[in-house]
Symmetry: C2
Subunit: 145 residues, 2 copies
């Protein structure tokens, strides 16, 4: 379908572009709401889906189970997900151009690409004591909110 301009979509995209973390739809909503107090959460979801379908942003479907994150940086890079606080952090890695071909050798279909998700503990969570790590209400503040 043809994409007609809308102020709301522009605001959503431009907000995403200011962020190095990977906000959820809810976070996008709460921030864009400051500029457009009447914006609807459904509008945010619809536009995030639309932007992702058109390759202008990435939808990251992992991290906290069942909560999508969005990334305006579409250049090739990978992601780290903290198993304690669920923060999603960019991770540069030298290119592995042959990995898709390599994988294709044992595979009958067509491989178009891949994503690598690293997991472990982010810097902030590493510095917490084990007791703090078990308390689920202590959230990492390494991401500007």
């Amino acid at each position: 379908m043809i994409m007609k301009y809308s102020r709301q979509r522009a605001a959503i995209l431009s907000f995403l572009q200011t962020r190095k973390d990977h906000p959820t739809a809810e976070v996008v909503y709460s921030h864009v709401k400051e500029e457009y107090p009447n914006i609807s959460l459904g509008t945010v979801y619809r536009n995030l889906t639309q932007l992702a379908d058109n390759g202008m942003i990435l939808r990251l479907s992992f991290g906290e189970l069942g909560i999508d994150h969005f990334d305006a940086d579409t250049s090739p890079h990978h992601h780290f997900v903290c198993s304690a606080c669920s923060s999603v952090i960019d991770l540069q890695l030298k290119e592995m151009p042959f990995i898709d071909e390599e994988a294709g050798k044992n595979f009958d279909g067509m491989i178009q690409g891949h994503n690598i998700y690293f997991h472990g503990l982010c810097k902030c969570c590493l510095e917490k004591s084990p007791i703090q790590l078990n308390k689920c209400d202590i959230k990492c503040e390494n991401l500007n909110d």
Copy 2:
């Protein structure tokens, strides 16, 4: 918490072990129901979570958006997700032992591991015409159900 034996959990695990595809909780439920007609869907979810927490199976949180898949094969391997039919297929790949160390060079936290998800079209979907691919009610049959 201590794991006490239960027939239901044993049936769930042994069903998963017969499968090379990666069933959802709903698929597990519908099959284990044949042996235990009274089993509850909640019981399936609870035991899948428990088995995954104890490292006896893997929870795969990607594929169809928001639907988890489960895998009784815990040996190191990767996965392919068909972007047309959402089938999840095993994919062997030569080991890349240094990838975590490599990624850690530009990262402040602790990297404990990674997952690689390939995407593209599976063999079955490759053989469909583009028109068929657009019809969402045509499902691939490459997985024994």
